[in-house]
């Protein structure tokens, strides 16, 4: 995403994002967006209702069931489909006999909470630093811009693994994951915000506010922040699936959340030893991770299009007469 792709240059286009009602209308017209929205809502519901689902099934994520696995063959669940039965709807975990459904839904809590939290940290840091760079003096801008370059160029996975390993064991792991992923991933957001601020700074209404004597902080809060909402929300929704995979990756590498707290990445990590002996154990967390990332990505893309003031022609071609003029950039938007 280039810095200025959504910043209009012609003064006759309203730079502020479309109203809430309008966004919702556009999203409703987009079938892929609706499907993704339903999937995301379902996932959040499942994660939120995890204890309820466990209670309904009558299982929990930590109880071992030694009688349901075959110890002599390394702990493969007894029975087809990973030992699925009336008591264990999606079977049991090889090696321990813990309930797979309970672990999946409890793992969803960790995976979603960590990725949402990490995104919040990234966006907050990105907006604050991007605003400071865009509105501050030239020196401040130079320093902050180099910091952004540094954070973006950093091999964040390697650094995250190192960071996760040195923090003492007592620190709550999900919170640590959020912070580490967040602190290492604000660079892109900050850069986009900075670019937007540069574009907005020169617009008439901002200039008017400044001329009337408003202080910099007030200009930032009242005039610029609202106009940033569109691109920032868009970027946040696109960043979410990346953070879901990042959490799974770190847990897969053994530095994420720790047993017995389940997470999808961790389930996938232990499943690598079992993909031949118990294929269903690999497929379940893998499918869920795939669906989550796909749903968030599709949703993010749709939100981006719906929020883009110049993308209307694609979604609602010809409906908005006021901004009918074609922008040369629009062809690529």
């Amino acid at each position: 995403m280039s810095e200025t792709s959504t910043v209009p240059r012609s003064p006759d286009v309203d730079p502020r994002p479309p109203g809430r009602h309008q966004v919702w209308q556009r999203l409703r017209a987009d079938r892929a967006a609706l499907a993704a929205l339903v999937a995301v809502a379902l996932l959040v519901l499942i994660a939120a209702a995890a204890p309820l689902i466990c209670a309904l099934e009558g299982q929990n994520a930590t109880t071992f069931h030694n009688s349901l696995i075959d110890s002599a063959t390394g702990g493969v669940p007894i029975g087809p489909f990973g030992g699925a039965s009336g008591a264990h709807w999606l079977g049991v975990e090889p090696g321990t006999g813990r309930d797979v459904l309970a672990r999946l839904v409890t793992g969803a809590q960790v995976s979603l909470a960590v990725s949402l939290g990490a995104t919040a940290v990234q966006i907050t840091l990105g907006v604050v630093i991007g605003l400071a760079a865009g509105l501050g003096s030239r020196a401040v801008d130079t320093v902050l811009s180099r910091a952004m370059d540094l954070v973006i160029a950093f091999p964040s996975l390697v650094f995250a693994v190192a960071l996760m390993a040195v923090v003492p064991g007592g620190f709550p792991r999900p919170l640590l994951l959020m912070l580490v992923i967040g602190v290492l991933g604000w660079g892109q957001t900050a850069r986009i915000v900075r670019g937007q601020v540069f574009g907005l700074r020169g617009l008439d209404y901002v200039a008017a506010a400044r001329l009337t004597g408003a202080r910099r902080a007030r200009v930032a809060r009242r005039e610029i922040l609202p106009a940033l909402a569109g691109p920032v929300i868009t970027y946040g929704v696109l960043q979410l699936p990346a953070n879901v995979t990042q959490e799974a990756g770190l847990s897969f590498l053994g530095v994420g959340v720790r047993p017995p707290t389940p997470s999808w990445g961790q389930m996938l990590a232990s499943a690598t030893d079992w993909f031949q002996a118990d294929p269903s154990y690999v497929l379940l967390p893998a499918t869920l991770l795939f669906v989550t990332v796909l749903a968030f990505t599709v949703l993010g893309e749709s939100v981006r299009t719906a929020l883009d003031p110049r993308a209307k022609s694609r979604l609602r071609a010809g409906l908005d007469r006021r901004r009918g003029k074609r922008n040369p950039e629009e062809a690529e938007a």
Binding site: T62, N66, S71, T73, G74, D273
Partner: protein
């Protein structure tokens, strides 16, 4: 208490005779009837390993019984009995020496004589001074690693800095080219076992290149090193100056040996199971079969016939630090012992095929002096009721919260899976367990230092050789509490009575008597519940389709690389 010198010599001679007979019979119980030592030569043996070989320097290697790959290159004063799979394979036999060593009356002076006609790979004869130099090198701080016993046992060993800085070590004498005498500061009946270590391999002083010697160590065994890229791939070729006539322990059937290290464990199993191309002549010296192979064994008889099962003396256990509350109370330690669910622990490390539940600290093999006991019977799945009762007596009627430290290496006996199994089992007895995982290196450093040792942690102890001494002494001898780190006496136990019993057992040169003494000491220590033994590992290993003569040693639980053939 010690046996007379004559008796030891007699038994050594008898052993030697037995060996020669076994060798003539061709390794007796091989896997294939077609194996004939006379025509087994040829082909390339591939070794697929998970861990790297590390520095291939005899001073730095830490092996049991001369090692698996190292025994192909380094001959030592004594070695494990390579030629059989029975209880005799846990015994020590002469290798470079003519016997397993002649002790003086109190086992503080050990004398060895070299066999005639021994040569290095360049044809120069092996002299007793080369063996002395090899032992001395292992003291050099530049060449770390290896067992700690030499430093502890030899007179002056504590302060000796190796031949580069410290000159020679006076307590090793070489009166002539075939005689070498070791003088110890205390009686050690197990000295012949220690002499199987690669530190007792001869090193020619004029060929020693210090830290780069490991790239091309001078061979005294059937193979010489052709190339070695940092232990990742080691290629061995025949040593023309070695012959079977001067070595009754090794057959050296393959013409070439290639060791590939750093492979993923499931990759090793898949390659061995498929056995295509070079992998038909492949084996592994460090990787157990995994679940996907185990699941196929019952339906695939051909695959099943290519799996060997053996035991290496090792115990995985929960260690208590009684200096930390509440583990100072024996009733709390007993409650944990009662509550443990060994079936869950065994399943966590790969199931009953690769681990058996343990109630004793000593491994369950006669050579260690195994004496069965189970003072706190937990059955398969624990006895939470009994545990709660003991906790109530100890003043915790509503349960308590404790922290279990473990390593973060997955799939390891001290890893998070086992920790989770312990947590789950203790939870049933009202003990809430918090897990504290630490990256492996830091974990080891942490629990091996009394000042930072956690109250409850997962640990394992493996045998340096099949005897009770190296199994119990480092863990329970009060004089081996090391305040600066490297401490294995996790209970920090310093009981004069226990120390005295350890000394008495160390003086015994008769292995049967010593085994009995170690067994009764273990049974005595078990009552105090300083550890909760969890399981003894079982070695279950695959080998390629063309590999023959794969009988399993009771010393290290594996087929012998110096005896198998790929032809």
């Amino acid at each position: 208490m010690s046996k007379s010198r004559a008796a030891v010599a007699a038994s050594a001679v008898a052993l030697l005779a037995g060996l020669t007979a076994a060798c003539g019979a061709g390794g007796s119980k091989g896997s294939s009837a077609a194996f004939d030592p006379a025509t087994c030569q040829g082909g390339t043996l591939t070794v697929l390993n998970h861990r790297g070989q590390g520095n291939f320097d005899p001073a730095e290697l830490y092996t049991s019984g001369g090692g698996k790959v190292p025994t192909l290159v380094f001959r030592t004063l004594t070695t494990r009995n390579h030629t059989t799979d029975g209880p005799d394979s846990a015994k020590v036999v002469p290798d470079l020496a003519t016997d397993t060593g002649k002790p003086n009356q109190d086992a503080t002076v050990w004398t060895y004589h070299l066999k005639p006609g021994l040569k290095f790979e360049d044809g120069t004869p092996i002299r007793s001074a080369d063996v002395k130099y090899g032992v001395e090198r292992s003291f050099a701080p530049e060449l770390p690693g290896g067992p700690p016993y030499l430093r502890d046992w030899l007179i002056g060993g504590e302060a000796y800095q190796g031949p580069y800085k410290g000159g020679d070590l006076a307590s090793i004498e070489t009166p002539d080219d075939t005689t070498i005498v070791f003088k110890l500061r205390k009686p050690e009946g197990d000295f012949p076992f220690l002499a199987t270590a690669t530190q007792f391999a001869p090193v020619p002083k004029d060929k020693d290149t210090g830290t780069s010697y490991q790239k091309h160590p001078v061979s005294s065994g059937p193979y010489k090193v052709v190339s070695n890229d940092g232990g990742k791939t080691i290629v061995l070729d025949r040593n023309p100056n070695w012959s079977r006539s001067a070595d009754d322990q090794r057959l050296a059937c393959p013409d070439k040996v290639v060791v590939n290290s750093g492979l993923d464990q499931s990759v090793i199993n898949q390659r061995l199971a498929a056995g295509t191309g070079d992998d038909a002549g492949a084996v592994t010296s460090d990787t157990n079969v995994n679940a996907s192979v185990l699941a196929r064994l019952n339906s695939d008889a051909a695959l099943k016939s290519r799996v060997v099962t053996g035991f290496f003396g090792e115990t995985q256990y929960l260690a208590f630090n009684p200096k930390v509350k509440p583990f100072d109370d024996v009733r709390v330690r007993q409650a944990v012992s009662y509550a443990i669910d060994r079936e869950s622990v065994v399943n966590a490390v790969g199931g009953s095929s690769v681990a058996k539940p343990a109630t004793t600290f000593l491994p369950d093999q006669p050579a260690f002096g195994y004496t069965p006991y189970d003072y706190f019977p937990a059955g398969q799945n624990g006895d939470p009721a009994k545990a709660k009762e003991l906790l109530a007596q100890a003043g915790y009627p509503n349960g308590l919260t404790i922290t279990l430290s473990h390593s973060t290496v997955t799939g390891d006996g001290s890893g998070p899976e086992v920790a989770a199994a312990v947590q789950e089992a203790l939870g049933k007895a009202g003990i809430t367990v918090k897990l504290d995982g630490t990256a492996d290196d830091d974990y080891q450093t942490k629990y091996q230092k009394p000042a930072t040792e956690p109250g409850l942690f997962l640990a394992s102890w493996g045998a340096d050789w099949p005897s009770g001494g190296p199994f119990l002494a480092p863990v329970f001898d009060g004089r081996q509490i090391l305040a600066d780190g490297g401490n294995y006496n996790s209970a920090q136990l310093d009981d004069p009575k226990v120390n005295a019993e350890i000394d008495a057992a160390n003086r015994l040169t008769d292995s049967a008597q010593a085994a009995k003494a170690w067994g009764s000491l273990d049974a005595e220590l078990g009552k105090q519940a300083y550890t909760v033994p969890l399981y003894h590992p079982v070695y279950k290993r695959l080998y390629g389709k063309d590999v023959k003569n794969t009988y399993v040693s009771q010393w290290n639980g594996l087929y012998d690389l110096s005896r198998i053939s790929v032809k």
